[in-house]
């Protein structure tokens, strides 16, 4: 009946290996260290895409085994029991049954289980083995198991399961050789063993418990250090204070440590522009390359250091296990406004940029809560709003000290804009809870994994991977839009020459919307800026500089002078309020569309934020004049 694991390997069935690259699926419950193992096996040879028609990330990569034996590894969303209740789980189920269009049924499976939680995780072995695909059961985190005095007999377990078993640790690299051997060898179908019906969870638990005891599994001692650390990190008084310190630390690093890097990158892009300018003859092509393409690339790249620092911190928090504690502490407060603990980190990320924030909502299993988080995230004051705020505040507000030498009227105004965005987010979350996102919600379930030291390797891989995803997603959109807007500013050609901005398509658009924005105190020049800043908010600074024919950084006295001529103080405050609320960002629209799987929510979000921005600006203008 059930062969030992070595014989099972010998009784091979050659599946797929002859026709191109074999595909192997990585399956496991959440927190089994599946993704770390995936990273160890594929390194940077991985690609991220979305499954057709849904919003779940499809992550695959190539494992190098040499001599034409490479394997395509597919990291499937985590699942406890291969049921298809959530979208994630449905994907895993469909792929494993070969029902996912465009994705061939895998030739073999790596089933990754947490060895410190074996009885619980073995439940997943029942539905996975019943698929009848060649399977290697990888018991991960065995370094942790042994350190805490646990043990098991892998040969006995392999015999029970009718499938080979490998002891592994993604952190130390243990067992990777065995996994590679399995991948490089010919895949063997598992022996037939009696399996419980997957839908009957109590029966599966009983089966898993019996398997664990028959393979002389000794559960590890409770993680003492985790208990001790939780005594501090979840302490009623100290816990929230530490969370506050962590949040402030992340902010400080994002804005202070990343600033020199951003300046450096900006300088590099500037030099590249000068060289390109010097190399090419003057003309439309040069202008398109320098002012369109390079300026577009530059406007994305300057945000990369901040976002990379953010990813690094989130990586440390997540790998160490603190992220779950942060979610636990934040849950009570977030629940009051209809969100939940897992919304906390995405919303924190949104202070750098809404794009990575919306990508980070993938950790929220509840579809309703995830949608609510995506819809409020762009209200957080992102880094692209700061150059706009800086310019207008410097042009219109005196630097009168209020409290000490540092905190003056200007600082107060900036703080006020942060608070305004935050309040809009809270109000919107409450509104969503009582309107379109009303109704029953899945219960909040949060597993608190033991604390672990993050490894440099895993942090580095994640940093590169996430930064690359940001650059390709935001970069392609912003680049396209910047080039498009550049064309709008330089067409139609008059006698083969680009017209001045006033008479360009963009200028015409500015004048067309002027009647609509006149009540807010904006003229057509601001109108052009509102159109171009759809690419990225800070683009309005450069546009206003171009219109006025002056050098265009926020500190420019000439630009401030020109703005004071164009706007009344009421109009200036209205412009600040408009930027606090409006979704002036094509990248965010694109990423919301992608993550919500359609145009419905991004359009709703854009219209809602625009209406709020218009109303708020109108009110500000009416109040101040």
């Amino acid at each position: 009946m059930s062969g030992c694991h070595d014989c099972a390997l010998a009784a091979h069935v050659d599946s797929g290996a002859t026709s191109g690259v074999a595909s192997v699926a990585l399956v496991g419950p959440p927190n089994s260290g599946k993704s770390s193992l995936f990273n160890r096996l594929t390194g940077l040879r991985q690609k991220v895409a979305n499954y057709p028609g849904v919003t779940v990330e499809q992550r695959h990569g190539r494992v190098r085994l040499g001599a034409g034996r490479d394997v395509q590894l597919l990291d499937l969303p985590g699942t406890y029991a291969l049921q298809s209740r959530s979208e994630d789980e449905r994907i895993t189920d469909d792929v494993l049954h070969g029902r996912m269009p465009g994705i061939p049924r895998p030739d073999a499976i790596l089933l990754v289980l947490d060895s410190t939680n074996l009885a619980r995780h073995l439940v997943l072995a029942a539905p996975v083995l019943s698929l009848g695909l060649p399977t290697l059961v990888v018991l991960n985190l065995t370094d942790d198991l042994e350190r805490r005095g646990g043990s098991l007999d892998p040969a006995a377990l392999a015999e029970q399961l009718g499938a080979p078993v490998a002891l592994a640790s993604a952190a130390t690299g243990r067992g990777l050789d065995t996994i590679r051997q399995f991948l490089a060898g010919r895949f063997a179908v598992p022996g037939r063993i009696p399996l419980p019906v997957a839908q009957n969870i109590p029966a599966c638990r009983l089966w898993a418990g019996r398997l664990a005891s028959q393979s002389t599994y000794r559960a590890p001692a409770p993680p003492l250090w985790t208990r001790r650390l939780d005594g501090v990190f979840l302490h009623p008084v100290v816990g929230p204070l530490l969370l506050l310190a962590v949040v402030l630390g992340v902010f400080q690093a994002m804005f202070a440590a990343a600033a020199p890097l951003s300046d450096g990158l900006e300088a590099v892009v500037g030099v590249a522009g000068q060289w390109t300018g010097a190399l090419l003859p003057a003309g439309v092509v040069r202008d398109l390359l320098v002012q369109g393409v390079l300026a577009g690339v530059g406007s994305v790249i300057v945000f990369l250091p901040q976002i990379a620092v953010l990813f690094l911190f989130i990586g440390i928090l997540e790998d160490s296990g603190y992220l779950a504690r942060a979610a636990l502490i934040a849950d009570r407060t977030m629940a009051r406004i209809g969100l939940q603990g897992k919304s906390f980190i995405p919303l924190l990320s949104a202070y750098a940029c809404a794009v990575p924030a919306i990508l980070a909502t993938r950790t929220i299993e509840s579809k309703r809560d995830r949608l609510a988080t995506i819809l409020v995230a762009p209200f957080m004051t992102c880094a692209a709003r700061l150059p706009v705020y800086a310019l207008i505040i410097a042009a219109f507000l005196p630097n009168t000290p209020l409290l000490g030498p540092v905190f003056g009227v200007r600082a107060a105004a900036l703080l006020g804009l942060y608070v305004l965005g935050f309040l809009a987010a809270v109000g919107t979350a409450l509104l969503l809870r009582s309107t379109i996102l009303k109704g029953d919600r899945a219960p909040f379930l949060l597993e608190l994994p033991p604390y672990r030291w993050p490894t440099l390797r895993s942090l580095g891989l994640r940093l590169v991977d996430r930064s690359r995803a940001f650059l390709t997603r935001a970069g392609t959109v912003i680049l396209g839009v910047t080039v498009g807007l550049w064309l709008l500013c330089h067409l139609p050609l008059v006698n083969g020459q680009a017209p001045d901005l006033t008479h360009s398509v963009a200028g015409t658009m500015g004048r067309t919307i002027e009647p609509a924005i006149r009540p807010l105190g904006f003229d057509w020049k601001i109108g052009v800026g509102l159109v171009t800043s759809l690419a990225a908010r800070e683009v309005i600074v450069g546009t206003l500089g171009t219109i006025h024919g002056i050098e265009s950084d926020a500190g420019s006295a000439g630009l401030q002078q020109a703005l004071r001529h164009d706007l009344t103080p009421g109009g200036a405050i209205a412009l600040l309020v408009f930027f606090a609320f409006a979704m002036q960002c094509v990248s965010t629209i694109a990423v919301t569309r992608r993550e919500t799987g359609g145009w419905r929510y991004p359009l709703l979000q854009f219209s809602y934020m625009l209406a709020l921005a218009y109303g708020g600006a109108l009110l500000a203008k009416a109040l101040i004049g």
């Binding site: 109590p202 939780d230 849950d331 009570r332 219960p443």
Partner: protein
């Protein structure tokens, strides 16, 4: 000694046996996958700062549940 009826009433540091899950079927399945099965021993570990959610240990793992969920998980009466 007071008889505890649901997981929400279980004092910290004590154990109890789950009797039934008075939640919709999908939610029950999700809870059972995490170990909250009828007959399972649950230990109340601690509360988050502010009192909610609460952390429970079941089958070697620590899981946080909100009070609104915990009060739907009924316990066997203490003999």
């Amino acid at each position: 000694m007071a008889v505890t009826h649901t997981l929400a009433d279980l004092p910290f540091g004590s154990d109890a046996v789950l009797a039934q899950l008075a939640v919709p079927a999908d939610d029950a399945a999700r809870l059972m996958e995490l170990g909250f099965l009828p007959g399972a021993v649950v230990h109340a570990v601690r509360a988050a700062p502010g009192g909610d959610p609460r952390v429970f240990r079941v089958d070697g793992a620590e899981i946080a549940l909100r009070r609104e969920t915990a009060r739907l998980l009924h316990l066997l009466p203490v003999p």
